[in-house]
């Protein structure tokens, strides 16, 4: 019986795959080690929704049979992973992180799970999340069936939301990678707070069949992992057209950064103010160092700014109208009152009252935003900004009060990039870029729709020169 050392829990996909193929350990041994760790440590971060020990071991045994006869299915074969509990897994509870759905069971798998199963990845558990992925707008980190997502770097801090468990589980080495979702910030925020690499794909690139709908026109699924390289491998496996998802772009993705144009000479749009006055003071040195590391890749930094739109109110209006329709049965039944967060309950109830004219105005403005952002990308190849202006917030900090505010009169920089990127369906890569005190901070790299290979190529170059993505929380 092979001994699985602690380093294995923090190894990248290529290394794990190589060690499996060289028979250093079997897929079953690896799955047993990961699923035990997830079951033991997951609850200490409120990151675990459901451990899937029996299913994981059964799958791993199948992988071992395949490996024995050299039936190779790619780099994810035998790699343990987790999914946010908004993805359906046949015959098992899918709670959407919310008490009213605690006993919900579907009789089919999400397409993303089926695709990962087909390449031999081993699902070891479902991961905790903010209830209903934050629909309605929550005030406190405790807005979850499993309690507040605790940050592995400091358990008095929030893991971020709504993909709290996905980010925390990767950071703590409980899974080799995880799948999360973003409607407006739910991948970028927890990845930034937990110090892991993550990718929000272009809208429509990854099927959402079997995933809870919060907003049909905004929802995306994406990977949390140890590096840009790993995110590329995972995206290749889960991307692709799907007739079961009306929003599917019908496109596949092949991870091939070697065929991208050289990073040297890329025009990177940024706003200096985002890394200074618009960043929280303890995070500024890390952001400045990260900018310097980015320059070392040979890119040209170009001062730029986003087209001016009220991005926040536009996203909020679209989200409210769509979630109001989606969750109307929950609201009408009164079971909405069983949610954990009072602000979220009120937000969902109010969302039934969004006038059609407001929703359509927001969607028309969205078209103009898409056009203006496309024009912006004629001047730059990618945009770079902090993932969040500072490190993870304290657990009891109200999340609906706006957070850090720079001095009045501070230029806007790329403020609203998360909302703008989601409105325009743009992909974003999150890469850890240093520390504010003992807490990680990150950059987001944003590009045109379907430019994932370019983002991953830049992320790979950045991570070849830095080691922030390899840092581990002290207690794990």
């Amino acid at each position: 019986m092979a001994v699985i050392g602690n380093d294995v829990f923090f190894a990248g996909i290529a290394e794990l795959n190589e060690r499996l193929r060289s028979r250093e350990f079997t897929a079953e041994e690896l799955a047993r080690a990961f699923v035990r760790r997830l079951a033991q440590l997951g609850p200490s971060y409120n990151a675990l929704a459901l451990a899937l020990e029996r299913e994981a071991i059964r799958k791993a045994k199948d992988v071992d049979k395949d490996l024995k006869i050299e039936r190779l299915r790619g780099p994810l074969q035998g790699i343990p992973y987790g999914v946010k509990d908004l993805l359906s897994y046949k015959g098992h509870p899918t709670t959407w992180g919310a008490k009213p759905y605690a006993g919900q069971v579907f009789d089919y798998n999400a397409t993303a799970i089926d695709k990962l199963d087909a390449v031999g990845a081993v699902l070891t558990g479902k991961l905790a999340m903010v209830e209903l992925a934050g629909g309605g707008g929550y005030r406190l980190a405790s807005a979850s069936l499993t309690g507040p997502g605790l940050n592995p770097w400091d358990r008095t801090r929030w893991a971020g939301g709504s993909s709290s468990g996905s980010a925390a589980a990767v950071a703590a080495g409980l899974v080799a990678f995880a799948i999360g979702s973003e409607t407006s910030g739910s991948i970028v925020t927890p990845a930034s707070y937990c110090g892991v690499t993550a990718l929000r794909p272009t809208y429509g690139l990854v099927s959402r069949h079997g995933a809870m709908a919060l907003s049909w026109t905004l929802d995306k699924l994406g990977p949390f992992a140890r590096s840009a390289e790993d995110c590329g491998r995972i995206l290749q496996a889960i991307a692709g057209g799907d007739g079961k998802d009306p929003g599917s772009a019908g496109k596949s993705f092949y991870y091939a950064p070697q065929y991208e144009r050289p990073v040297k000479g890329l025009k990177v749009g940024y706003a200096a103010v985002d890394f200074a006055e618009r960043a929280e003071e303890p995070a500024r040195p890390a952001f400045q160092t990260a900018l310097a590391a980015l320059k070392e890749t040979g890119v040209t930094l170009v001062e730029t700014k986003l087209p001016q739109f009220p991005y926040g109110p536009i996203v909020a209006t679209i989200l409210a109208a769509e979630q109001g329709s989606i969750f109307e049965p929950l609201i009408a039944s009164g079971k909405v009152n069983d949610l954990a967060d009072a602000a979220q309950i009120a937000g969902l109830k109010a969302s039934l009252e969004v006038p059609a004219k407001d929703y359509l105005k927001a969607m028309r403005l969205r078209r103009i935003i898409q056009e203006d952002i496309t024009k912006l990308f004629t001047q730059v190849d990618v945009l770079v900004a902090p993932g969040r202006p500072g490190p993870a917030t304290k657990l009891d900090q109200p999340l609906d009060r706006g957070g850090f505010q720079p001095a009045s009169g501070t230029p806007p920089g790329l403020q609203g990039l998360v909302q703008a990127g989601n409105l325009a369906g743009l992909p974003a890569l999150v890469v850890p870029c240093g520390f504010a005190g003992d807490l990680p901070v990150a950059l987001q790299i944003v590009g045109l729709p379907f430019s994932e290979n370019l983002l991953l190529a830049l992320g790979r170059e950045f991570q070849a020169r830095t080691d922030w993505h390899k840092k581990r929380p002290p207690e794990v």
């Binding site: 509870p93 006993g103 069971v105 009152n337 954990a340 309950i345 969302s351 028309r364 403005l365 103009i368």
Partner: protein
């Protein structure tokens, strides 16, 4: 929905785990939206709508429902 006995057993045991977690997490009583919270949420939506109304959009601009490269 048709489940095999094995799948049913998995559901029952797993539901028990989730339910126990849910009970622990929800030891605070469920909180219905109080009138102030609801009014605050409504006010926020109204303010958003008023802000959107100030934005000029050419008459020919159709809503965005498709996202293309």
């Amino acid at each position: 929905m048709k489940l095999t006995r094995r799948e049913l057993a998995a559901v029952v045991s797993a539901t028990a785990v989730v339910s126990a977690t849910a009970v622990a997490a929800a030891q605070t009583e469920p909180r219905a939206a109080n009138p102030d919270e609801l009014q605050t949420a409504r006010n926020r939506l109204t303010a958003n709508g008023e802000l959107l109304a100030q934005q000029e959009v050419p008459m020919a601009t159709e809503p965005a429902f498709q996202f293309k490269a």
